[in-house]
Symmetry: C2
């Protein structure tokens, strides 16, 4: 079955703080680990860590090199495999450029914990992935208190918030990415390969 290739972007700028002000957030080491492992589990394409801060990129590169070239990768080859798909880029535009597809073939979708008018349901997103109107989808997740509105202007749509059976929606970005990828690439899709071993 044809399905869109999924790329993931973790945005550190422009995002907002708790006061709604535009900021550049610091990279969280565990975000990189958790999200890279989740992306590898769900077979996404590149995982873009997006920040224009040179200092932050230098720091992140040291962490990534530890797992790709240093002692980390020897100690834990599975972690190394996950880190292979990480790319540090300055901006959402640079992630789009790195994907290298004509813009009309690439759906750039934001996520938000706030419900936006006209947001794309998870059911609709699943259809976008499996009956692709785009060849590739770049799914953007904001750090701190979420993506700055400027990001939404660059996007083709915003996915609806993730809810459980309560009104509480303060998931960590690490949990949100895991749930999002499982919703679109996980439990309900077992045609191809290993999902049979999940016992479903």
């Amino acid at each position: 079955m044809a399905r869109a290739s999924i790329y993931l972007g973790l945005v550190h700028h422009p995002v907002i703080n708790r006061q709604g002000e535009r900021i550049c957030s610091a990279i969280t080491n565990l975000d990189i680990h958790d999200i890279a492992r989740t992306c590898t589990t769900y077979g996404t394409k590149d995982f873009f860590v997006i920040t224009p801060s040179q200092d932050q990129k230098t720091l992140a590169k040291r962490v990534i090199d530890h797992w790709l070239k240093g002692a980390g990768g020897q100690y834990n080859p599975d972690r190394k495999k996950a880190f292979e798909q990480i790319h540090l880029v300055d901006s959402i535009d640079d992630a789009i450029e790195a994907i290298g597809r004509p813009r009309r073939q690439l759906g750039v979708l934001a996520t938000s914990a706030r419900k936006m008018k006209g947001c794309i349901s998870w059911e609709r997103l699943e259809k976008m992935v499996y009956k692709p109107e785009f060849e590739c989808i770049l799914l953007l997740f904001g750090t701190a208190s979420g993506l700055h509105e400027q990001c939404f202007e660059q996007c083709d749509g915003v996915v609806c918030p993730i809810y459980g059976p309560t009104s509480y929606n303060h998931l960590s970005v690490r949990a949100a990415v895991a749930i999002a990828l499982d919703r679109i690439l996980g439990i309900r899709r077992h045609e191809n390969g290993y999902n049979t071993s999940s016992g479903l």
Copy 2:
């Protein structure tokens, strides 16, 4: 619709290290935050952080108190709400005792990244939750390289590993908990309340 109440246990002892040896793992601060937030999102009952180490419990209690009684809760009331359901206990037995139900009404289920013979599929687990054979389910997640086999002996069953469309199954425990709760309490269950706002 009647459904079983879900409790969650994050086990630090007995778990195994990468060599398969029985260890007591250290508590990871971000595990507590992420899993408490995920539990609150999905409306679980208590979240048990399980370790017999007094030092580790003292440390964890300081973190928890910061969010429940200290500056953390004032700064971020949503985080405080998530922390309210955390309980530090010495052992799986103590978690079971704290739930306070007759053992026959409580299903204690382990999770594992390794496929166990006779493991419970996610589909079957969902049925166990919504057509309850137990009034309560305690779902146990191992830290480090997973639960020690001794844990499985205390359980009524083991849930099958979480897979995406690849053979890679090295999710963080934070991601695994998020996916697990969404699979059983999330996307496919919209009868009660807020899930309608997820757009599905």
